[in-house]
Symmetry: C2
Subunit: 757 residues, 2 copies
């Protein structure tokens, strides 16, 4: 927790018109959560959904440290300007700033031999992080670095010891490369005696990603140098070569200073995907002066406002866990538009966003599940703009496709399905305003009909993706079927009966891959033959030959969110279905799987550390056994979330793992986005008040909730008793109340569910 | 000469309101002139000062074939969209289009083994070129390719034989690389079933040069493929990868067709330095339809209009030589601005040209001599915009420098001096309107005072560039001194007396390097010691250690255009000066110099194939011996110019070598741009009428001119006798006449010159 000197805090709070005693929700944010192990979050500052994320990098090669920072690493490379939150694949980490004392090192050195380069040791005792703020003391140079961030621009405050040889290196070749990505080209320009701009083109997860930066230093450089391929760029006495600009694949800028003891040097930084000029405009527009603390406070106040969309009661630890989860949910997607309104389009032309704000980083296979459904409730304006951004992507796509996993004007084609569809349909059905509905329908329909994408054409014809033609055939079939249900939902609402019928039929395709002889989903070839031999626990993502996407048959067989009654029926009725679910949580077989070390949170073959499991616990409520859901939800909430660096069991995946926690605490979850109901599980907090985007307030109360009282005894919705464990969206958004009575034993509540259609 | 079918020709001429019998000046243009040997011109079509130059490439590696085409090469790679005219260093050659029949080859093969790739043989019998048009039949595929060009967009018409396997390859990796340059990144997008766009970033002579293209085919592709690193970009059954777009350093696009006998496929092409979107806009704006012949005719008509700025009398060969020279002079600098007004600035930001048209390719060490002075007379609007373009470059330069040798948003720093200064000052003094004079003065003064550029600071202090600190020290000193004279001229005209005095003093610096003991210019070190040993014929550009820039002491010792009387005095008076000049034309010593094979046109140590010699013959007129000038001028005009591919003796250097010819034919030459007079040599045509940019007409008549009558007997300017061999600018631009009486023997005309101050 960050503690400001009291008098400064007082000033800030007075300025905000708040009494010093007022609770600031941002104070509960613990940015280190998820930085140790598999969470893949970063601790540095970002504004909500911001374009820059200034953060320390401790690793750039290991995929398991995709955000650049691993809490257990002993050394820091420096501080780069952009980071992904919770992804399983590294990228970004653009433009590394490194303070040094003594002869400046140009190369980083390696973790094992930090002395060979600019890597520095640090101690967590000298480190702190808060919403919008990060601080660390680098031991090698003895420089304290503080970071804060606005939306497109941030600031660094580096406090130096007295030295004749103090410096700040900007390494343009540093990226979170995972050993595979690289900078293919870059340039640098020393614009004046305190300003440098530059650019690099990175080929990475995003295949062609140009980014520009601008940096303005609070003190004119004593000396400013550029290094190319490790050699100083100097005039060579033959014919003139500027020492003030350079181009090439390996560039570094070095600002040198003579510093006094405890001398702070501030650096304003900004990025743009469009031009260096725009990076400078972003910098000047957002940070006109040199008020580091003012920027920190204004970003903190932004976080206070965003986090206040849900006000909870709970213990200190619960509040820290909850608001850190909400913070993580609000880090991505990221603003991707300059103050001029310009952004780099998917077609790599510069576009001007007309009547919307452009966002990027759409980890849709993850975030369609709970993140966007949460946005539809409490971030509707942003959700609409994210949809507008996806529609712009569609317009600019040569494949006429909505994004699959898009990253800064690139499509990574990561994961399967076309899950922009449920995001759009869920927002549409939940009344999110601010996007063109007919344009959106055209886009989702065209995407779902694309004959080039995977085996969609074959799937549409056969009824399944044949494993002899296509990898991950079962997962693809199941996910397409769910997405198709969403298309049908929107078609129906728009009165497009033929489309509704067509896509409803496709939504039933899951039935074609259910093998009654094994009671599970199983690959089928183009001749209709089951995949043999068949190991329902097999998980082999590394070989790339599995019928399942990051999962096993036992994990994926639950993936029919659009028709759980149908699945229950295939599995032999509610009782058999519930017993099968019980089995899932006890398997040990798949634990030996290799190549999936970053998916933890394992309870039998239920792996909470990856998304295919996220809805599964809630299926107990469909089966009339919500008390089993209550038990498993409590288990996951208490063992796989918390306020510690290692609290997350798997990738946060741009906020999806955190959004699961938010809904679960509230007592319900969107098992099937694109439908109008949530599934009730069991609340994990005594009270929560949601400021809905429609202007209304929704209040959840869980009476008598305690460690022991984890079971729902009864539910009152807007004053009426609800025995069916499904909460209609309309009940929630009319500005309602849900009151849970909690007790120490499973009751009969929810035992006879009527599953909504 | 291109012959259109008569009825089409008739139609065109009728459309132009001309009778079929009317002379079309474009018919005299012989684009092959300079393509054999050292001229380094290209034969393909370009609009006047156009942004695209579609032309066949026969070589991409040899520096001596910097334009991509060498007449004696037996094979053609294909047809690329951009070319430099007459430079000594290769670059451009962007986006090569190659028609093929049979299994498409992706790699070019080599000249020695064309069968290994797409290289094809051709015959000059199947080849023709005219202003705005080129045609060749490629023997290997049997495809006839015709090219024409508008300003930013061009067209290809490929006439195929009947084939199941006809194709057009677009090779993005091809550039005129000179073995050193390369494509560092590229992308391709198949926009629709007949359109492809792409981009590549080339690091070449221009260090970081991005260029986009768009191509639209008249027939939808039967098949469209992308190849990356030689492999087809296809969906790989794992997770989707678009076959319609790709990124990487080695990309090729292949459009395949089944063709009928004699089937024409047309391709519209355009480029942009800003974006693919802008390339498409350029294409659509300039070529809305599919009228190849219409575009060809409209460009031909543009050439007719431009060439009509000088109307001459003369033989067919003289007209061909003259109008080809004028054509070459009007090929560069090149338009560098999209139809939107946007261009890529020197700071690599996108700018919008405000109230001017942006140009690039400033080969200033060459073109300040005669090209820009010619523009000041007959292309004043363009000359002003070229100056505006140079001022934009200055504004965008981190070094606060005007261009030295700028190429598509890059500074190559090629050659020495700061010769944007004479271009600007000459235009200013000659009344060229349309640029900001105070801005221009600030720019030339700041450039001349730049402490980082070469040894300007030391030169300003010492009075010379010391050879122990700096290469090419003598040439630099002499050229700075001349440029400084120009600054002083403008300062004086603007009433800036201190500046005028300061730069006038610097203009005298040449005196510091004249060694009276050898009667020549000689290197001096920072202690004031002459460079010893001293070989006045030494030329060693390859070792990079010479005191002279592409020249010898004997060649550079004449370089004092701003103060020829001073030089005459140093050399011992007019008689000694003239004798020394005589000597120059008889030396043989330097002929054995290696590494300078591309500078031919050698008459003793006078080498007309390179610019340092260009003004030298005219120095006879200062010495009172204009008849010797007349002899040497006639010798050069008849032996080093003509209408044949091998007619040019050295690099055309963006038109400078051709502009020398234009002035020389008119009978006078701008020995000292930035002064108000021309030096009279001897006219080479019986009559020429100039349409001056001020709206007036200037007429030169040479009575009794013949092979024998090469000597000027007398001159009448505006009806008054002129015995002094200098023509004042004011006499010319008032709309005057110059009448030369020519005779077979040297007369006494010009024997007592009064050199203008």
């Amino acid at each position: 927790m960050v503690k400001l000197p009291f008098f400064i805090l007082t000033l800030f709070l007075l300025a905000l018109g708040q009494s010093p005693a007022a609770e600031r929700l941002s104070d509960y944010v613990r940015p280190f959560v998820g930085t140790e192990g598999e969470g893949n979050t970063y601790p540095g500052p970002s504004a909500p959904f911001g374009m820059v994320q200034l953060s320390p990098d401790t690793d750039k090669e290991i995929w398991e440290t995709a955000s650049g920072y691993e809490y257990s690493d002993p050394t820091i490379f420096g501080f780069s300007l952009t980071h992904l939150t919770g992804t399983g694949i590294p990228d970004l980490g653009d433009f590394l700033f490194v303070p040094q004392i003594g002869e400046a090192k140009l190369m980083s050195g390696t973790k094992g031999q930090p002395e060979s380069g600019y890597l520095s040791g640090y101690s967590h005792n000298d480190e702190m992080a808060a919403a919008g703020y990060y601080k660390v003391k680098l031991q090698k140079p003895g420089v304290t670095v503080e970071l804060t961030a606005g939306e497109r621009a941030g600031m660094m405050r580096m406090t130096f010891p007295a030295s004749d040889k103090a410096s700040v290196l900007v390494d343009l070749e540093h990226v979170l490369s995972g050993k595979k990505w690289k900078v293919v080209w870059s340039h640098l320009r020393i614009e004046d005696n305190a300003t440098v701009t530059g650019y690099h083109m990175v080929t990475g997860w995003a295949k062609e990603r140009p980014l520009y930066f601008a940096a303005r230093f609070s003190r004119p450089f004593d000396k400013a140098e550029i290094f190319s391929e490790g050699k100083p760029v100097i005039y060579d006495t033959y014919r003139f070569r500027s020492a003030k600009e350079a181009m090439g694949p390996s560039l570094r800028f070095l600002a040198s200073y003579q510093t006094k003891e405890q001398e702070p040097i501030l650096i304003k930084v900004a990025v743009s995907a469009v031009s260096a000029q725009n990076a400078l405009k972003n910098l000047e527009a957002e940070i006109p002066g040199w008020d580091f603390d003012g920027l920190r406070e204004s970003t903190r106040a932004r976080w206070d406002r965003e986090l206040a969309r849900i006000k909870i009661e709970g213990s200190q630890e619960e509040k820290e866990t909850f608001y850190t989860s909400l913070y993580h949910t609000f880090l991505a997607p990221n603003l991707y538009e300059d103050v001029t309104g310009e952004y780099l389009g998917f077609d790599h032309n510069t576009h001007k966003a007309q009547n919307f704000t452009n966002y990027t980083v759409f980890s849709l296979w993850d975030t369609y599940r709970a993140t966007h459904p949460l946005f539809a409730l409490i971030q509707a304006r942003r959700d609409a703009d994210m949809i507008n951004s996806m529609l712009a992507h569609y317009d600019q796509s040569v494949e006429h496709m909505l994004p699959i996993w898009s990253l800064e004007a690139n499509e990574t084609w990561c994961m399967v399905g076309y899950h922009a569809v449920p995001v759009i349909v869920d927002a549409f059905l939940k009344g999110v305003k601010g996007f063109d509905i007919s344009h959106a329908y055209e886009a989702i329909r065209t995407t779902a009909m694309n004959p080039h994408y995977d085996s969609v054409a074959t799937y549409a014809k056969l009824g399944w993706v044949p494993f002899d033609k296509e990898n991950e055939s079962v997962s693809k079939t199941l996910e397409y079927a769910y997405d198709d249900f969403c298309v049908a939902q929107m078609a129906r609402a728009l009165g497009k009966k033929e489309d509704a019928a067509y896509f409803s039929k496709r939504a039933d395709s899951y039935k074609n891959l259910f093998d009654p002889s094994v009671g599970l989903m199983r690959g089928k070839d183009s001749f209709g033959q089951w995949h043999s031999p068949f190991n329902p626990h097999s998980y082999d993502e590394t070989a790339g030959v599995n019928d399942f996407t990051e999962g096993t048959s036992w994990q994926y067989s639950w993936y029919v969110p659009q028709d759980v009654p149908g699945l229950i029926s295939l599995m032999g009725g509610k009782e058999a279905f519930a017993q099968k679910l019980d089995q899932l949580f006890t398997f040990k077989e798949a634990d030996q799987n290799k190549g999936v070390s970053d998916i933890q949170g394992r309870i039998g073959e239920y792996w909470h550390g990856n998304e295919p499991s996220h809805h599964v616990i809630y299926l107990y409520s469909y089966a009339g056994q919500p008390w089993k859901a209550a038990e498993r939800l409590r288990e996951v909430v208490t063992t796989q979330y918390g306020n510690k660096p290692n609290s997350l069991s798997g990738n946060d995946d741009c906020g999806q793992t955190s959004a699961w926690y938010i809904f679960t605490c509230l007592g319900f979850y969107p098992v099937c986005p694109g439908s109008d109901y949530y599934v009730i599980g069991a609340p994990q907090l005594p009270k929560a008040v949601l400021q809905l985007s429609n202007g209304k307030t929704f209040t959840m109360t869980a009476n008598h909730l305690s460690e022991a009282n984890k079971y729902v005894q009864s539910v009152q919705v807007n004053g009426k008793s609800l025995d069916n464990p499904f909460l209609r969206f309309g009940e929630l958004t009319k500005g309602g109340t849900v009151v849970f009575e909690m007790g120490p034993k499973p009751g009969s509540w929810g035992a006879n569910p009527q599953i909504p259609k």
